[in-house]
Symmetry: C2
Subunit: 153 residues, 2 copies
């Protein structure tokens, strides 16, 4: 019985080891490239919504609905790229990302929650409510950038 | 009556003009950056599935299911970045993208169809079927890269 247990434990250790080595295989530079790619696309699909909410572009509820769904998928993508191993890579991420991971995690979750809310509201097509929901997303993006991203010159 | 029709036509022309100028506002370099970002993320989420299908990584149906949904969203994102205006930008896109847009469009649609099939199959959790579906996606990626992307040295 003890031998069996040992085999199970050893198998588990091997599996975990394999999983960790699979994660570790992604180079820090690749992690940075991937997380920046996600931010680029969040910008691509949020930009037009921000312009609509601020009356800088004609409001189009269909585009809001489509982009909200794409943003929902994209908002899952950047965070696993902010690994400690990337701390010394060239990027705009401030050291605070790695010094206060709990606060950073909270900020990433706030953004995802605001986007989930936008997806829900986008199904109603209610323009004022949509503008408020878009504003809510913008606030969480900006809040995170203020604390965790280098200020642009 | 004719005057009314004229007003409607003029309004339409203005609207289309506005829409086109809104598209034109995105710089060619930005379009290239955005489409490359989508390709980077398609690679991020397809890579592990390719490894699983080729038995280079342990098969995990839950990861396949999650990644399939992310790939479905990502597969909508690169194509509007391949505008004629980007033909002279530095990138790996071959001139064939702009010389044979119908063939390129077909290739992009094949990829999206293969990913939609993977999403459907991923709900079954059937490993052999999933490996086949992953292979199907890989084939459409490779087919498009063969015809429309510079060969890597």
């Amino acid at each position: 019985m003890k031998k069996r247990l040992l085999i199970v434990v050893m198998s588990l250790v091997l599996c975990i080891g394999f999983a960790l080595s699979a994660i570790a295989q992604v180079k820090p530079a690749t992690l940075v490239k991937q997380r920046q790619a996600a931010m680029t696309l969040l910008g691509k699909y949020f930009g037009p919504l921000g312009a609509m909410a601020q009356d800088k572009a004609p409001f189009d509820a269909e585009i809001v609905k489509r982009n909200a769904l794409l943003l929902e998928a994209l908002a899952k993508m950047p965070w696993d790229g902010f690994q400690e191993a990337t701390a010394n890579e060239k990027s705009e991420a401030l050291p605070s990302v790695f010094k206060d991971p709990a606060k950073f995690k909270k900020a990433s979750e706030d953004t995802q929650a605001a986007i989930a809310n936008l997806v829900t509201v986008s199904k109603t097509g209610d323009t004022p409510a949509l503008k408020t929901a878009i504003g809510g997303v913008g606030k969480t993006c900006g809040g995170c950038h203020d604390n965790f991203r280098e200020k642009k010159q």
